[in-house]
Amino acid sequence: MANLVEIRDLRVAFDGVPVLHGVDLEVAPGEALGLVGESGCGKSVTWLAALGLLPSKASVTGRVQLGETDLTGAPQSALETVRGGRIAMIFQDPSSALNPVLKIGRQLCEALRLHRGLTGAAAKTEALRLMDLVGIPDARGRFRLYPHEFSGGQCQRLMIAMALAGEPDLLIADEPTTALDATIQAQILDLLARLRAEMNMATVFISHDLGAVAQVCERVCVMYAGRIVEQGSVGQLFEHPRHPYTRGLFDALPRLFGPRTALVPIPGTVPDPRNLPGGCAFQPRCAHAQPFCQSALPDLLPQRDGRKLACAYPLPERGQGGERQAAREGVFQ
């Protein structure tokens, strides 16, 4: 099946400091893709760059192919029809992502007017339907309220409703539940999963909550320091992570069940983009690093089981004994 979006060699630099170093990513129609990684690894920047939403001091190169059009070179007017129309995006902290001085009905209708040409009563009817769909109680009565009159969870529902207004093919959810309470988080995750199933809309779910990603996504990309380091199905990655970084993210996670043991943190911190280590960017924090890792940057290469991996000395595959044997496979395949 043809991909809905294909990102090829996307690079972003802020004031000459590169923060994305060539990201390749594709999203199939209807698919749910997760994007995980520590803070600052470039998850948000990837999609903001794809939609041309970065400030002008950012320099973006590469290709973002949506059907026939390349978004990186596209004129503003073309981008404006894509944004919210074919690709919609919702953000963390819903309460500040809605305009505080505009009635939420008006904000919803604006999206409907832009992408579906609806105005007046037709727009209002549709907006009310969307509010119902995302579970805002008493939509009619609250149509003319302002964002501060809604709770955080309801604001995120309204953001989702607004994103749905353009009937997009792809919804990018950038940490949509991070600012919300545990029980509300569960509601929103549930809503997103339900909507995706009902509307057959592809979803990119950006999060550093591996648990949440596991629940809503089919495929996952793990990012580190501006690169994708491992990519595969949820089952593959979460049961048998092969990149030491992916593995590290899992081991660092406290568990809700099972014995209460000390956690296994990844030593050190994310490198400063202005000051990246030589070779593999993860190498200074990696327990499996060899001298080779300091000099050569591993490419993201497809593996036998279908995943992609960028590591010279990955963790062994399932059922495969010697680490030696599995080593170097990533590089010389």
């Binding site: 995750l189 956690l263 911190t269």
Partner: protein, 327 residues
């Protein structure tokens, strides 16, 4: 054994205004909370935003005045706030907040900040203080060469370590941590959690650990209290409470934690929002969101009752019948 910290019937009412010119609406942020912390024990406090966790934490240290109830520390009543006796007691109990950057002075080196409590409480001479600072930095995993750094030159996890080292400087018997790891990445969070675990192991230091992250709380705490709208609705040993929650709210809370490998369906997803503390529902405050609610829940406030040898819950239906049906 006597409890290190014992709070009885604590009440805190904020008379905040709603909006700029609205009517004053009293908010019972903490509404009759009793708890005890044994020496060397870690008590976790969980609950959703606005349930009164931070307020309770501050009241335990006497930073926030209580409108009702008492706090006893080491067997004696807590002295009045801002009296010399209270200040002296502060050396024995310290607090760690969520945002390390806000808690640190950006103009002072981290060594100076860690030394500060030693100076305030007049502990040791200059040389002893310097030695103690070195010791503390090592204990929390900061390198000696970082002593002269400023807060903004450190990563989030390192800053939180500085805050913890400073809290430990006066050798407190009680540490109240208010969301100390919530702002940190998983891997850094694990580093700080491990640090706290080590502190637990090495000394008979008690801790109150406030968080809405159930996974971290379970990992770190011996006992857990679940708060809903200013009251404790369930309390028990953390293993038991997580394995066998008795209160429907606790069950929903645990169920809402996304775990890799646990599917979405089959979880208890609560409907509705946490209620406004200024408009507390009648009877059991949880009843509007509770699937088990009956008339008695709407009319009568449930008391905390023993459900298991070491576990208490405030639910009319926690005694086997309805609860086990739903479990």
């Amino acid at each position: 054994m006597t409890a290190l910290l014992e709070a009885t019937d604590l009440v805190r009412v904020y008379t905040g205004r709603q909006g700029l010119f609205g009517k004053a609406a009293p908010v019972r942020a903490v509404d009759g909370v009793s708890l005890r912390v044994m020496p060397g024990e870690t008590l976790g406090i969980v609950g959703e935003s606005g349930s009164g966790k931070s307020t309770l934490g501050r009241m335990l240290l006497g930073v926030d005045p209580a409108q009702g109830g008492t706090v006893r520390f080491g067997g004696t009543p807590m002295p009045e706030r801002a009296t010399p006796a209270w200040r002296a007691l502060r050396a024995r109990m310290q607090m760690v907040f969520q945002d390390p950057l806000a808690a640190l002075d950006r103009r002072l080196t981290i060594a100076a900040q860690i030394r500060e409590p030693l100076e305030i409480h007049r502990i040791g001479d200059a040389r002893a203080r310097a030695a103690r600072v070195g010791e503390l930095m090592q204990a929390v995993g900061l390198r000696p060469d970082q002593a002269g750094r400023y807060p903004h030159e450190l990563s989030g996890g390192q800053r939180q370590r500085v805050v913890i080292a400073r809290a430990l400087a006066s050798g407190p018997e009680l540490l109240v941590c208010d969301e100390p790891v919530s702002a940190l990445d998983v891997s850094i969070q694990a580093q700080v959690v491990n640090l706290l675990r080590e502190l637990q192991r090495e000394g008979r230091r008690s801790m109150v650990f406030i968080s809405h992250d159930l996974k971290v709380v379970r990992n770190l705490c011996d006992r857990v209290a679940v708060m809903y709208l200013g009251r404790i609705v369930e309390e028990g040993p953390s293993e038991l409470l997580f394995a066998r929650p008795r209160h429907p709210y606790t069950r929903a809370l645990i169920s809402s934690v996304p775990e890799p490998g646990r599917p979405l369906d089959g979880r208890v997803i609560l409907q509705g929002e946490p209620p406004n503390p200024a408009k507390r529902p009648s009877g059991c405050a949880f009843h509007p969101r509770c699937a088990l609610a009956t008339d008695v829940c709407r009319n009568t406030v449930p008391e905390l009752r023993q459900t298991d040898p070491e576990q208490t819950a405030a639910c009319h239906h926690a005694d086997g019948t309805a609860a086990s049906r739903a479990a």
